[in-house]
Symmetry: C2
Subunit: 340 residues, 2 copies
DNA sequence: CCAGAAAATGATATCGCAATCATATTTTAT
DNA sequence: ATAAAATATGATTGCGATATCATTTTCTGG
């Protein structure tokens, strides 16, 4: 920021390459960006000069001149959660081969911070944005609408997306798990998750779950929550808490596999038989779920696919192709295992 | 890329705000960037105008004009590995509050791809870069030297870093674990890890481990490796493989906790007593290590700290402060638990 | 009340590149 | 061989902001 300007910037510029290759700057630009429109002879000279000088294109000047940058901002609630990482990897895969560059913003489940990130990212003239979730502040919506850039909301399926949308219905997923537990004969089921006020999708799973319990005339319990990030430790602690405070509970639906895995490991250590004393289910379908003893019942979602779809959608939209579907409701898989 | 220019770019510009506020563009720039040098009256008018128009600063124009962007590239081998995520979180924490923006490059342990990323990132005129590892192609070194930007190499401690460096000695860590296993009475110890050719740090742990075995006159075995990314599944499979093919082995040092955890889960499922039949150790000190039964012996490294230090170092260097230490050898913790 | 200093504001040039339009060169068709 | 079309190259301008320097306004002290 407080850097002193150093006469001509510090790098090798197009002009330097042009000088060395004995052509005009614009020819260099063309030779490097659209080699096919430049004669092989010149192209070669230019390439050699660029190589010799170790020229790298100044992306900011490029973006400024062509009024459009190759930056796609991705705004997620958390990086430490494997779930988002997988989505990001899917996005990366597609975006990278289409020549785009990702920037990440971590909101820590805070909608104000989401606004800040988006506002900042708009300053990069992004050709489009990828967001996690469909819940935003009013002023975030206004800002996005004002700037009119393509936006893909991911992770959860919404009936009224801002623009494009790919995800699954967490309400349905929650209901499906309730259904499963009821079918297996459990009658006193409780939901446990962290930071439910902030984690809207976990809350939606609870809502679906709770509604199903109500529909089936079963006892409903308020969700057990902790105001810390999810982790196996907390999951174990929550299981303990439930066994102690509400011993009638015969099954727990954890908001995610981290918590559920922690519960299973804790039970194992303490010799609590699962699912006989209490059943445990999770959500996400992390690989570790299959390896636990007992193996963990969970709901798998195609996260990498979600990322890929989001990126593909955006890239298509950017390149002007009209895409048939602006919304995709990806399905989920309830994987019934030994823990229930 | 193929976007048509749309006359004046599509966003609100400084000029628009200036027009609305009835001042010159440069005053707007000042009012927003260094409010203290503008009179309160004008500042307020400008701020109101900016708010009304939903102005967001064009970062690329800003960076171009001041010849310096706020982008710090971070190049890591993998995003799916929790280890790098933690380093990144540490970096983020410091970088963000200093007003910098991170961009990530994922090399998948490929040095050529590292070169590509770095070359690309240099086009963003970054004030500095953060890399994982100290092993690079010759042309990568040349490029970095040519551009002379501050660089922090992280994760592993090197005797001859490019510029700044923070990390730990993986050779020593490997030796420490060998030491521990020997002290506990194991005599037929084997090392198991994935993609050792690419994962230089895992290889270094093996080297340290192997050297220690040699020093103590114990039988040395070639490392067991798989050419797939590490995962609990693979760890379980490797344990099986060892028990079957080399039944004399009484302890396994896995290259990381993912593999080791998988081994423990597998053993549990198959009723193989750990550590009685075979001991298992890991590396990284992931939280789950403590929760397994038996709990996993591992080596913890201060990853978040590494990230923080790297970022702080870079920020200091950028702001021109001379820092005492250009290198930091962070220590590691061997946490002896029940699995050995 | 005025000279001189300090503070606030503005005009202009520039960052590095690509879009646009103009010009030179080659190719093709007749 | 020559006009017309196609291709290759170059000159100029502008993207949106900030640095620099110039100017105006406000403050200070005698």
């Amino acid at each position: 920021m407080g850097e002193k300007r150093q006469g001509p910037g510090q790098g090798v510029t197009l002009k330097d390459v042009a000088l060395r290759a004995g052509v005009s700057p614009i020819t260099v630009s063309r030779a490097l960006n659209r080699p096919e429109v430049v004669s092989p002879k010149l192209r070669e000279k230019v390439e050699a000069a660029a190589r010799d000088l170790k020229y790298v294109q100044n992306r900011m000047a490029g973006a400024l001149a062509s009024s459009g940058s190759p930056v796609i901002p991705v705004v997620v609630p958390s990086l430490s959660n494997a779930v988002f990482i997988e989505v990001i990897e899917g996005v990366q895969e597609i975006a990278q081969e289409a020549g785009f560059q990702l920037m990440f913003g971590n909101t820590d489940y805070d909608l104000d911070r989401e606004y800040e990130w988006i506002s900042m990212f708009l300053g990069w003239s992004p050709p489009g944005l990828i967001l996690a979730g469909t819940r935003h502040l009013q002023r975030t919506r206004a800002l996005l609408k004002h700037y009119g850039r393509p936006v893909v909301e991911t992770m959860e399926y919404s009936s009224r997306p801002l623009d494009m949308n790919v995800g699954l219905s967490h309400v349905k997923a929650g209901a499906a798990m309730a259904d499963h537990l009821i079918a297996r004969g459990y009658r006193n089921i409780c939901f446990a998750g962290c930071r439910l006020r902030a984690d809207h999708r976990a809350k939606q799973r609870f809502d679906g779950f709770d509604k199903m319990l109500a529909q089936q005339g079963l006892a409903r319990r308020p969700p057990l929550t902790r105001e810390v990030p999810s982790s196996p430790e907390v999951g174990g602690e929550m299981l303990d808490h439930i066994l102690r405070e509400d011993p009638g509970v015969d099954a727990v639906f954890f908001a995610n596999d981290d918590l559920a895995a922690g519960a299973i490991l804790r039970a194992q250590r303490e010799g609590i038989p699962i699912p006989d004393r209490i059943a445990v289910a999770g959500f996400n379908g992390l690989p570790i779920a299959a390896l636990l003893t007992p193996s963990l019942t969970t709901i798998a979602s195609p996260r990498r696919e979600i990322g890929r779809f989001a990126a593909r959608q955006l890239v298509q939209h950017i390149s002007g192709q009209q895409c048939r579907t602006k919304r995709l409701d990806v399905s989920f898989d309830l994987i019934a295992r030994d823990s229930t």
